[in-house]
């Protein structure tokens, strides 16, 4: 750890890095090895390494109970979980899927994989979430599906979106990838809309190396998804549904996810401590606003998002450059927004001024397993240092950019 005393000390200007190992925004929870080993023994002893083995089945039971949903279907990733759920739920003959633009960078590509056009909607400035108000103008005779994406801090208005989808008779899939532990005012995520999709990527709340799952109370949907992830096979030789692929979760990944699931309360306690440390320390820095968790509801306190206000004395891109050089791997929050990216596939062109504005203002700060309270103090000190020396740093950066 090398604290900054002068601008020359910043890594971007050749100083030693503040952190010798990168501090990232990935959760990377590490469960107890013994738990992982114990679950691994289940498949090991049965020589059943994939194809809906004992550990995947156990994981699905545990996750269904965790989300208070009737069914859980595990997949090789959140990406393919969403893709398959979208392909099944989309109303046949219709062409558009409504989604926010300020979201996961591959979300529009998922629509393209299932040959639907992304129709991007606005988000609310106070929550960064899409809402019934922002989704409604996008509904038309081509709407096949709404993907209700929870933002990474707090939940969107579940009840509002469910009501809209019901009124308009449009299927609704929640992307709850960042909200596995959360409750909204409507209740625990997992049981809303037609289905909800989650991720087991190492950077998410539950680390299954790679993986994803869908929860639903719809038995037909569950059956169809369960078949489609395994080429559509129902029985040894019979393909029962079209549109299948291999999206199976293997047993090792399931063992990891189960071990993490055993550890959620401890993880949330650790995250809570990180969040409150950030909250306490960031209060002293003008120009930085922490996006606060709504503690009236259950939350994992996982993601740390700050807004750089008008009185923050440096642009976000430069701020990130300076932080990243010192191994603080802060990231721009969903920037560029999806509607601003080049797309050669079909999409509905969108004019989203609020999204454009918001996409410039927020950043994610390091969090998760490998960030402790001392690291957070150092990260916040670094922000203070940048703020206090912004003029000088800015001048040096400009000079550096000169040919």
């Amino acid at each position: 750890m090398v604290k900054k005393h002068s601008v020359d000390n910043l890594a971007i200007f050749g100083g030693p890095r503040l952190f010798s190992t990168p501090k990232s925004t990935s959760n990377l929870p590490r469960p107890r090895f013994e738990q992982f080993a114990q679950y691994s023994k289940l498949f090991f002893e049965q020589h059943h390494y994939t194809n809906n083995g004992p550990v995947v089945r156990l994981l699905e039971q545990r996750l269904a109970a965790f989300h208070q949903a009737a069914f859980c279907i595990a997949f090789c990733s959140g990406f393919w979980a969403i893709a398959l759920a979208v392909s099944v739920l989309a109303r046949k003959g219709r062409t558009e899927v409504i989604m926010p633009s300020l979201t996961y960078r591959r979300m529009a590509d998922i629509a393209a994989w299932v040959r639907l056009k992304p129709h991007f909607c606005e988000v609310e400035p106070d929550t960064l979430a899409m809402s019934a108000r922002t989704a409604k103008p996008c509904i038309n005779e081509n709407t096949a599906l709404i993907v209700g994406v929870h933002p990474i801090v707090n939940c969107l208005d579940v009840e509002g979106l469910v009501e809209l989808a019901t009124e308009e008779n449009v299927p609704l899939l929640f992307d709850s990838v960042e909200s596995a532990y959360e409750s909204a005012s409507a209740g625990k995520t997992g049981g809303f809309g037609n289905a909800e999709a989650f991720s087991l990527h190492a950077s998410k709340f539950l680390n299954g190396f790679e993986g994803g799952y869908v929860t639903t109370n719809d038995a037909d949907l569950a059956r169809q998804l369960s078949l489609m992830r395994g080429f559509g096979f129902s029985g040894a030789d019979n393909i029962a549904v079209a549109g299948g692929m291999n999206a199976k979760l293997n047993e090792v990944h399931a063992a990891m996810a189960l071990a993490c699931l055993d550890d959620v309360d401890e993880q949330v306690a650790r995250n809570r401590q990180r969040y409150h440390t950030y909250k306490r320390l960031l209060a002293d820095i003008p120009g930085v606003r922490l996006l606060e968790f709504d503690e009236r509801h259950r939350t994992a306190y996982k993601n740390i998002v700050v807004e750089l206000l008008d009185d923050w004395p440096m642009g976000r891109a430069d701020t990130l450059r300076v932080l990243n050089a010192d191994n603080i791997l802060a990231r721009a929050y969903y920037s560029p927004a999806l509607h601003r990216k080049a797309m050669t596939y079909g999409h509905v062109p969108a004019d989203l001024p609020m999204t454009d504005k918001l996409a410039e203002r927020f950043m994610n700060l390091p969090c998760g397993q490998r960030v402790d309270v001392e690291d957070i103090a150092n990260i916040v000190d670094m922000l203070k240092f940048v703020s206090a020396n912004a003029m000088q740093i800015g001048a040096r950066l400009r000079a550096k950019r000169m040919p």
Partner: protein, 396 residues
């Protein structure tokens, strides 16, 4: 010989536990535990970690290819390739194959055109491809079946002369060689499967091999931003990543490849010797290769000579806890959704239909001992000798 002894008629099953067809090789618990303690120690779980990087390097070396791009599974690899290769319209592939090959084309928005196979080798019948080529066809997907290979030279010449791209589903062919050259570098790309049932296992997994730098760059950019190298423009991305867990298992499996291949060959040879004199059972030798992984034991059942149909034999074996499989059954052209176009294929795929009706796959791999092979073959011999009695009892 009496049929009473068969488990189908109340006898004691030959095996206490089901004997599966898949390879199912896996490292010892001690090696597994050590590898995963390493991953826990590093805290690097996915996103092109050190084990995945190491696996790709070792695969490149082992297969003699410039790029081995590890993926979540072989199907996702086959789904990623059409965009990366710029394929359009239709792609010709055999129908006597695993459905994933055609499904990958459907996911890529392409139309599969099913070609018949050679009745002896089971590989795509190159001579029949010509009549299927029209202006909408952009590529041929060869499938290297049963630890053997298609006629690579003929296929290459045909693709070249028609201006078509050529690539391979080599899910069955890891480690196999043609004229001493390992598969992996033929056509524009080859896709291998590292599913648990294959000779190289990552539990789930696969890799795409190519010697084409630009194609490799596009594939890496489609797979994930991690390990993508230089950013290049692609139509759409996917999640095609292989995790460190998968790579750890695959690396150990690659260490074990020589032993596992040898074990397979021993068992395959044993089947060949034991079944040689059984009328109506013809073992399919891996065709077109100078070296095989012997990961499948495939036989054709001639009902007239053997005395039992393939399906009746499967039923009889199942009762003995020998989980033999009809593979591939039915041909992909007879599966949903392609069956809707069946009139197109009705008379075109006679060899595929014939093989689908007569092929049987027997157990080989980690859970199969030479003694087990002898016991399976003994059942097969006894079933032949008692075939008329078995038939009449089943008919009752």
């Amino acid at each position: 010989m009496s049929s009473v002894a068969f488990a189908l008629f109340g006898g004691k099953p030959a095996f206490d536990k089901p004997l599966p067809v898949g390879q199912l090789y896996f490292p010892s618990w001690e090696r597994y535990e050590a590898a995963f303690r390493g991953i826990f120690g590093r805290g690097w779980y996915t996103n092109q970690g050190p084990l995945t990087q190491q696996l790709e390097q070792r695969l490149q070396q082992f297969l003699g290819v410039k790029h081995a791009i590890c993926v979540s599974n072989a199907t996702i690899g086959l789904m990623m390739l059409p965009d990366a290769m710029g394929l359009t319209g239709k792609v010709i592939l055999p129908s006597f194959t695993f459905a994933a090959a055609a499904q990958a084309l459907s996911w890529a928005g392409l139309t599969p055109i099913f070609c018949d196979v050679d009745l002896n080798t089971h590989q795509i019948d190159v001579e029949r491809i010509g009549t299927l080529i029209d202006e909408d066809v952009s590529a041929i997907m060869g499938v290297n079946l049963w630890g053997g290979a298609c006629d690579l030279a003929e296929l290459g010449a045909l693709a070249d002369s028609n201006g078509l791209q050529l690539y391979f589903d080599s899910a069955h062919a890891f480690g196999c060689a043609v004229g001493g050259v390992r598969l992996g570098g033929f056509g524009r790309a080859e896709v291998f499967s590292f599913h648990a049932t294959k000779v190289l296992s990552a539990t789930e997994g696969g890799c795409i091999c190519t010697n084409d730098d630009e194609l490799a760059a596009r594939l890496r950019n489609i797979r994930s931003s991690y390990g993508a190298g230089e950013p290049v423009t692609v139509v759409k991305t996917a999640n095609g990543r292989m995790s460190e867990a998968q790579a750890a298992v695959a690396l150990m499996s690659l260490d074990d490849y020589p032993d596992n291949q040898t074990n397979n060959k021993t068992l395959h040879d044993l089947y060949a010797a034991q079944l040689d004199a059984v009328p109506g059972l013809r073992l399919v030798k891996p065709s077109g290769v100078s070296f095989s992984n012997y990961q499948y034991v495939v036989c054709r059942v001639d009902e007239r000579e053997y005395g039992l149909s393939r399906d009746m034999l499967i039923e009889l074996l199942k009762a003995e806890n020998v989980i033999a499989r009809r593979y591939f059954y039915p041909g992909v052209h007879r599966c949903i959704p392609y069956v809707e176009e069946l009139p197109t294929y009705q008379n075109r795929l006679t060899s595929t239909d014939e093989l689908s009706a007569t092929c049987i796959q027997f157990p080989i791999g980690a859970l199969v001992s030479p003694e087990a092979v002898e016991r399976v073959c003994s059942i097969l011999r006894r079933a032949h000798l008692a075939s008329s009695e078995i038939r009449s009892r089943r008919e009752k």
